[in-house]
């Protein structure tokens, strides 16, 4: 088995999920509660990766990160390295690719919190931010868990975007799915089968634990 690729994939998935939580919590809050008329536009953009072929997304990302784009030049000016075919470039691509898998469960969970509870908290003097921490987030823990698990699993299994943006550099951008593809191309079925089985097992385990946890919705987490 290609342990290097497995470690890289797990690291990428963990970092992507963490970045998505940081971006996703405020963005999902805005999507759940904003009354802006152009909200639907943002919703459509967030949902794009669900319907776009990964190669198309990957192509545009590659163009956006390239040395001739403003983003690519700015990155190179700041860090002295190029984004395409680097781990950082892969991370940015993964975050965008898995965005709907984090945002949609979060926004749905936030929106289903009883409006009356939120207003009751405001009337008890708690700010919007503290109301989020004390009421909305604890009552949305199942949605948050779903978003985390789906983002992690989705990143772990991504292929098309990685191939376009990351290429296949061992230790830098060679993920599990690329490794499996490589092994199959080389008619090397035995390691491919082991890696595939490992991925299958991990995915099944994670989803089983998630659904088992979700059965006990009665006891939400309390943040503060």
């Amino acid at each position: 088995m290609d342990w290097q690729a497995i470690r890289l994939s797990l690291g990428l998935a963990a970092l992507t999920t963490a970045a998505l939580l940081v971006i996703g919590l405020p963005l999902a809050y805005w999507l759940a509660f904003s009354r802006r008329r152009w909200k639907f536009l943002v919703e459509a953009v967030v949902a794009m990766p669900l319907v776009l072929p990964p190669t198309v997304l990957g192509f545009y990302l590659l163009m956006a990160m390239g040395p001739r784009s403003p983003l690519g030049r700015a990155w190179e000016g700041l860090f002295g390295s190029t984004l395409p075919f680097s781990f950082e470039g892969l991370l940015i691509a993964s975050v965008l690719y898995s965005l709907p898998f984090m945002i949609q469960p979060l926004a749905a969970a936030f929106a289903s919190v009883d409006r009356g509870l939120i207003e009751a908290s405001w009337c008890l003097g708690e700010s919007r931010f503290r109301t989020f921490l004390r009421v909305i987030a604890p009552l949305s823990w199942a949605g948050i868990l779903t978003g985390v698990v789906l983002s992690f699993a989705h990143t772990l299994g991504e292929f098309g975007v990685v191939l376009m943006v990351g290429g296949n550099l061992p230790g830098r951008t060679r993920t599990v799915s690329i490794a499996i593809y490589d092994q199959v191309q080389a008619m090397d079925y035995a390691p491919a089968a082991r890696t595939a089985a490992l991925l299958l097992g991990v995915s099944f385990l994670v989803l089983t634990v998630t659904y088992a946890l979700r059965r006990h919705q009665r006891k939400p987490w309390t943040l503060i």
Binding site: D114, G116, L117, E119, A120, S121, W122, C123, L124, G125, E126, S127, R130, R134, V135, P138, L139, K219, P220, T222
Partner: protein
């Protein structure tokens, strides 16, 4: 607080909220003085009572007019000023209580007390548990409480921060009928002890009469009439208000005696018998529906029996209303009767006639009000 420096009413609401393609709802009334008083927003469902309360709470933004409370301006549409609910120093009891389902009774009660230290917070929560008779339940979650207990937790949570104004949206309507009747008196006594001005929304006439000092009658988003509760019931300014109040006669009386389930009342210069509903103080509101009052001729000045009142009366006005005739009577207190046109014709009634008004003791509905 500095009420003597501020000669205006304690609360002055004169604000409106427009809904696109829908109604306009206004909050237009006042609470003259600080201290204990209950202002009842009363009207049929859909009349805008809850929206008016939400305007006061700051949960709805007024798009015309202003709301001032205790010398500070809470909202002023002209100056684009809108104080959020967090800055209004009020206690709000929403209709379905909105208790936090993931927190215990104690945590619900202490939710608004983040500014206090842990020890002070615990002391205040203990105080509230005792005040609202919730001791022993502090570790339960809202889902494990009865309706009455939930109501008390929600009230306690609203009172926790010692607010300057209390807003109650249908505080008793989620309870079964016997609990409602029992809790009305308890609630009024509690509010009196706490000495907080309160605005209460209800569509229940008996609740309004028993709990209220001031009445604001609302219909289709508009305030039809507001003022002292007796004034409004005695003298509705227009038929719409009278229709909303829903009873032809509402007068105040005193209990003279209660014997064997039968109460003897003095009303104006008359005496009336009524079935005793229990739990009465000395002062009551007496509600009599027009259909329950019959008018008859006769000369024998019999005073009737305890089961059936028979009062000498003079007709002050006759007004046809569809197939009925509304007869206004003076029998020591103003009494309204609704009879069929046919009955009215057979008796050949005219204004100024001396008649007898009869009504069963069971048709006299008493609501305590001390």
């Amino acid at each position: 607080m500095d009420a003597h420096l501020n000669p205006g009413p304690h609360l002055l609401a004169n604000a409106e909220r427009h809904y696109r393609g829908g109604p306009t709802v206004e909050a237009r009334f006042e609470i003259p003085r600080p201290g204990f008083s209950v202002t009842v927003l009363f009207g049929p469902s859909g009349s805008g009572k809850t929206t008016a309360l939400r305007l006061l709470a700051g949960l709805e933004r007024a798009d015309r007019g202003s709301i001032r409370f205790g010398g500070t301006t809470w909202s002023d549409a002209a100056g684009d000023l809108h104080c959020p609910p967090q800055a209004r120093d009020l206690g709000f009891l929403p209709q379905a209580y909105a208790l936090f389902p993931h927190l215990t009774v104690a945590a619900n009660l202490g939710y608004g007390l983040s500014a206090l230290g842990a020890r002070e917070r615990r002391a205040r929560v203990d105080e509230l548990l005792a005040l609202l008779d919730l001791r022993g339940l502090e570790g339960r979650h809202p889902g494990e409480l009865s309706g009455g207990q939930q109501q008390r937790v929600a009230l306690g949570r609203a009172l926790a921060r010692k607010p300057a104004l209390l807003l109650l949206d249908e505080p008793l309507s989620a309870l079964d009928r016997p609990s409602q009747v029992r809790l009305r008196k308890e609630l009024r006594d509690l509010l009196r002890t706490l000495d907080i001005p309160t605005v209460l929304v209800t569509h229940d006439r008996a609740e309004a009469l028993q709990l209220g000092d001031r009445l604001v009658v609302m219909d289709q988003g508009r305030v039809c009439q507001s003022g002292d509760i007796r004034e409004v019931f005695d003298r509705p300014t227009d038929p719409a208000v009278a229709r909303i109040l829903g009873v032809e006669t509402v007068v105040r009386g005193k209990i003279e005696s209660i014997v064997g389930g039968m109460a003897t009342l003095s009303v104006g210069s008359a005496r009336l018998f009524a079935a005793d509903p229990g739990g009465l103080g000395w002062e009551v509101f007496i509600c009599i529906r027009g259909e329950d009052v019959a008018v008859e001729r006769g000369s024998a000045p019999s005073s009737g029996t305890t089961a059936r009142n028979r009062l000498p009366a003079r007709i002050t006005a006759l007004n046809p209303e569809g197939s009925l005739v509304r007869i206004s009577l003076d029998c020591g207190f103003p009494l309204e009767s609704l009879v069929t046109r046919q009955a009215c014709g057979e008796l050949d009634l005219a204004e100024g006639d001396a008649v007898f008004a009869t009504l069963k003791a069971a048709a006299v509905h008493l609501i305590p009000h001390d």
